[in-house]
């Protein structure tokens, strides 16, 4: 008895969802530097058991947040990438049609035997009814990400990536899963999650999501970080980077974002760039180095062309 109490007490002390501060620390320990707003949203999601809709431009760490959370609470991450034309059979479950067919082919003779000594047609039908359900049972069920997440009895992190790329119909279908953490499979009945998964939905804002979906989710918008936060992120993500270099490159990237570019660099680009510079053994930024590695942070030819003549000026600006 005492043992169990001390165990739960120990677990509670380590519980990353105890408070927002604990969550910020916990995320930092798995390499994700979260702002208070991010941590609060996550804290609320865990406490209110609601899915969390993460928006923000590409590369600000939306997917990374889900990955880090999974690492933090040491639960499996189940990821579902959305795309146009995604439907139930790819998201929820599918009957293993091939296997069903194969089994019926193999068992054809067996079934013939079984049925041959049935005296009447009705009796044969009855026997057939008994066999029919065999082929629509769990062994023939191919669970897809959503069903897998609901069947994780110890809970898991479910990441529904780029939900804005899916169709409206699919969005509507998600509503049941997200609000009640259950799905209905006609042949098997309703499946309810024993432990509701922690659900992340990410969106790049390709299209506006429906109100019904938004209403069921908490909303988190991750903006581009300020210089101080970005420096911390770079320092955490790229171990062994020089502090001066971090400061310089973050200042440069921050300046870049003030220019009108097709795709301003986001955090992932900054981190990539920092990695590239460390690989090149750069101790500090110099214009030649920047020009050579500009393609790491800028992904459009026009952007590179627009920035190149301004490199020196951008580096001088603080």
């Amino acid at each position: 008895m005492t043992l169990t109490i001390s165990q739960t007490a120990g677990a509670r002390a380590a519980d990353p969802f105890a408070s927002v501060d604990a969550l910020v620390e916990g995320l930092a320990s798995v390499g994700y530097i979260a702002s208070r707003r991010i941590a609060t949203a996550l804290y609320m999601a865990a406490n209110l058991q609601k899915p969390i809709l993460v928006e923000g431009s590409a590369g600000v760490g939306k997917t990374e947040l889900a990955l880090s959370t999974a690492r933090l609470i040491a639960k499996p991450l189940i990821r579902m990438q959305c795309y146009e034309g995604l439907d139930e059979s790819k998201a929820l479950y599918e009957w293993k049609y091939g296997k069903q067919l194969l089994y019926t082919q193999i068992l054809k003779d067996r079934m013939g035997e079984q049925l041959s000594d049935a005296p009447t047609m009705d009796a044969a039908m009855d026997r057939l009814h008994g066999m029919g359900d065999l082929f629509f049972s769990e062994p023939f069920l191919e669970p897809r990400p959503l069903l897998r997440a609901l069947r994780e009895d110890d809970g898991c992190v479910l990441l529904i990536d780029e939900i804005d790329k899916s169709d409206e119909a699919f969005e509507a279908f998600l509503l049941e899963v997200l609000s009640a953490y259950q799905v209905s499979i006609p042949e098997l009945g309703v499946m309810v999650a024993k432990t509701p998964p922690l659900v992340f939905l990410t969106s790049n804002n390709v299209r506006d999501l429906g109100d019904a979906l938004k209403r069921r989710c908490l909303h988190l918008h991750i903006p581009l970080p300020d210089a101080a936060l970005e420096q911390r992120i770079v320092a955490t993500r790229v171990p062994g980077i020089d502090a001066d270099l971090t400061e310089q490159l973050v200042a440069f990237v921050q300046n870049l974002r003030t220019i009108d570019l097709r795709k301003p660099p986001s955090i992932s680009e900054t981190v990539d760039w920092a990695r590239a510079l460390v690989l090149l053994h750069a101790g500090s930024l110099d214009p030649v180095m920047v020009r050579d590695t500009l393609n790491v942070i800028l992904k459009f030819e026009q952007d590179v062309a627009a920035v190149e003549p301004q490199i020196v000026e951008l580096m001088a600006r603080r």
């Binding site: 299209r207 908490l218 909303h219």
Partner: protein
Amino acid sequence: MQETLEQFVRALRAADVRVSPAEAIDAAKAARAVGYADRALFKDALCATLAKSADEVVRFDQTFETFFRRDPFSLLEPEGDPGPDGEDRDAAEASGAAASELAQALLRGDSVTLAQAMEQAGERAQVSEIRLSTQRSRLTRRLLEEMGIGEIERIIANARRLPNGEGLGDRLDRGRRALMAEAQAYVERQHELYASGSGRQLREEMLAKKALNADGGIDPVDLAVMQALVKKMAKRLADRYSRRRHKANRGHLDVRKTLRKSMAHDGIPFEIAWKIKKVDKPSIVAICDVSKSVAAAAQFLLTFLYSLNEVVDRLDAFAFSGRMICVNDILDDNGVEGAIFKVLSTIGFQQTDYGRSLQDFAEQHLDRLDRHTTVIFLGDGRSNFADPRLDIMHMIQQRSRAVIWLNPEPESYWGQGDSVMHRYERFTHVAKHCNTLGQLERIIEDVLRTYSAH
């Protein structure tokens, strides 16, 4: 606190943040989970449950700051030491100031008590029901009355009549004036919270119905609102129609494909093929008149074109007055104001020549038309008595899927003066009078819908 949250939700709705009852319940749960002690935490928690898009977050922040802002009362500090002064105390007793809580609070300069009293009075006076800016002074008065300003005024009058009450009266009077200023600020804040947003909504509704070519054009004050409105409309349309390329149609077996695939398995259909319906994405050619006669409307037609260009993949935009040019690049490369200015300065405000412009189109851009294209003309069909080149119009009609003509002039004007609208009309599938943003949105929506209807 429950009530405060409800009020806050109302303020949010007024600020055009849509909050459903379910979300309000979530917010209450969230507030209970995080507590009220940490302001930043409280704000973030509410934000996550209530604001559901990036610009709603901005509006949420503003509303939160206004709603939960309570400036400390800037009352005059009580000079000297009013308490022990024997004369003063007598005066206070005699005038009734000693018995009045409000007067005491004023004399002490007790801002906390006063602020609380004002909140309560504000509830009784229903200041938060404010709708119009003209209600401000009346509500301020009601608020002050609820707080007991009448009593204070009586006490001041009493004190002034007493031989030794002059000092007390003056001090109370100063307090009274400070209180009135505070009350005004309070009502102002409530107005900002609950009423300013609804005013904007009303204006947007009106603007959507306002004639684009009205005399004097659009009020410069409304320009920004209007442009935002146009953008919103275009985005809404594009959201609904730009993304349906495949409609997976499960449930309909593609028998031919399935049989063909089953050949490899000795006729046993291991792989099943389903029919998939393809839905065309809209392909639009928009041709916009930017000449003098439609100058007022041209700006908004261009804004609409611009917004549509941002969201519809296959849109070719042309502008003409004397000649016709393709404005795709201009729309792509510039911001909305820059693009409109550039188009207008390149080609705008010249004498209209429909024939010449159509010829330009036929010579250079006819290959843009195919049987999937919808052509939208935005213009008044006034060709300054030049040859309207109906033959080209006929050709355009033949080559494209549909030709739609939107005319800012009412139908009764068509065919009058130099208008050749009736002659062009024969070569269009739809010719409509389109004079307001609301109409424009509806017509474009009809165009887009024909693509997904079947």
